[in-house]
């Protein structure tokens, strides 16, 4: 079985697909995390919310509508969260932030249960992507290929925006020393607000993309949180490169670990995380800022 090329292609695609889903999620978190030094543990809940929004909206206006609505809805929630909590917590340091967002996890968990019930929902795969395509002699679900493509596309866009615009430098300056940045006429507050909203929208997008693939349950956000954190810590906080590298490493280790060393599978990734942190205490590709 292992000698068969098809097996490697298929599992490789599986790994890539998982990586891209994690990338969509972790990139938002890493941007908020690394640039604003804001520890948003509720990021997973935003993802869950995106999935619920996509499932609900999808039922009414179809998958593509849901894919559009979910990020917007989550970004809107992000606005509320920012105005009510985050803005006041920015200077409070990671401990307070961990706690407030830890509290938010539970609040949002129960809120989803109250609104959507405790039972699992799901979103259908759109007709356009319902089939399978053949790549390198392997039949593979079209929807999963779509996830891969979407992840790569978002990566490209973000890389372009961050490296080619001054906004990246402004954000980093604000992170370094917000009062000095303000003294240079940078509206630090507004900038962070935008960053936060974009991060939230990406989480919502990840949820919307995941909805047809997985089941939509209240605790899906909690489940995905640890893998996402592992991804960004392996990759290094705040860097796009880190998010993509971490996602790929996680996807590959998880997928191939599961099929090749099933007994070790669940320990493997934690071992890897520990090893990375021992050798490179700041992750593989820490942000330059």
């Amino acid at each position: 079985m292992q000698a068969d090329l098809g097996f490697w292609v298929l599992q490789g695609l599986n790994a890539l697909q998982l990586s891209m889903l994690l990338f969509l999620l972790s990139v938002g978190l890493t941007v908020i995390f690394g640039l604003m030094h804001f520890v948003n543990l509720a990021h997973g809940s935003l993802y869950a919310l995106g999935a619920y929004a996509a499932a609900t909206a999808g039922a009414a206006i179809g998958f593509w509508g849901g894919l559009l609505v979910a990020p917007l809805a989550v970004a809107a929630l992000g606005v509320v969260l920012y105005l009510v909590f985050i803005r006041r917590m920015r200077r409070a340091g990671p401990m307070a932030q961990v706690l407030v967002t830890f509290g938010l996890i539970f609040v949002m968990l129960d809120l989803t249960r109250i609104i959507w019930g405790a039972q699992a929902l799901s979103a259908p795969v759109p007709a356009l992507l319902d089939g399978r395509l053949t790549i390198l002699g392997v039949e593979y679900p079209a929807y999963r290929l779509f996830v891969i493509a979407l992840g790569l596309a978002i990566w490209g866009v973000l890389a372009l925006v961050l490296s080619r615009t001054q906004i990246g430098a402004m954000i980093r300056a604000g992170v370094d020393n917000d009062s000095m940045a303000a003294c240079m006429g940078i509206d630090v507050e507004r900038m962070f607000f935008l960053v936060f909203c974009v991060g939230c929208a990406l989480a919502g997008l990840a949820g919307a993309v995941a909805a047809p693939l997985l089941s939509v349950t209240p605790d899906m956000g909690l489940q995905i949180l640890i893998p996402t954190l592992i991804v960004i810590v392996i990759g290094g906080l705040g860097s796009l490169k880190g998010a993509i590298a971490g996602s790929l490493i996680y996807g590959v280790v998880q997928t191939f670990g599961a099929v090749l060393f099933p007994q070790l599978a669940s320990i493997l990734i934690y071992g890897l995380l520990a090893a990375v942190l021992i050798l490179r205490p700041a992750g593989l590709f820490p942000a330059k800022g």
């Binding site: 001054q166 980093r172 300056a173 370094d176 009062s179 003294c183 240079m184 006429g185 630090v188």
Partner: protein, 233 residues
Amino acid sequence: MLELNAVDSGYGETQVLHGMTVTAQAGRVLAILGRNGAGKSTTLKTVMGLLPAKTGQITFEGRAIRSGRPYDIARMGLGYVPETRDIFRSLTVRENLELAAKRFPAPPGGWTMARVLELFPRLGERMANGGMQLSGGEQQMLAIARALLMNPRLLILDEPTEGLAPIIVKLIHDRLMDLKQTGLSMILVEQNFGFATSLADDVVIVSKGQIVWTGTPDEIRADAEAQHRWLGV
């Protein structure tokens, strides 16, 4: 140009400024002298909106700026070089400079990247370095260069010569002199008495959060008693 009138300010519970009243005239250089801990830096921070003023008025070109946000105050044309320099450590030297240069386009004859690098050639050699890797003196140059690139109407310098080699101090002195000649208004907080008095048009001395002495450079040079009493020279 900039006026403080009976300003009280401080850090949380600790009040540092007690009725600080001082005026910086347009086109002139005001030197603020005083012992360590007198409240010089606190005055500047309050002007920039980094510390809230509890009472009193602060006006810049006639507009009240008390309790404005630093962001707005900076955009009104105040360029600030803090005593801690506050280089953006995770940005390269170039990025530090561009942050100002790209967002505050130089008026004709204003400060441009090229002119600033001419002023501090040392920085030119370090353009790709991270802000953190600069030596102390290089950081000071960068902080001044950065403020100049904002092409401010009032330049506020908090101990610009601290930690600089004499040759650089001289250089900065000459450049500031040039700036002064172009009519740029400046506020200068200094420990270096000679440096300050040779640049300033007006001198004030701060002690315990209040102005205790006002005059010209010549007057303070002549007033050994005041020097001894307020500056410990």
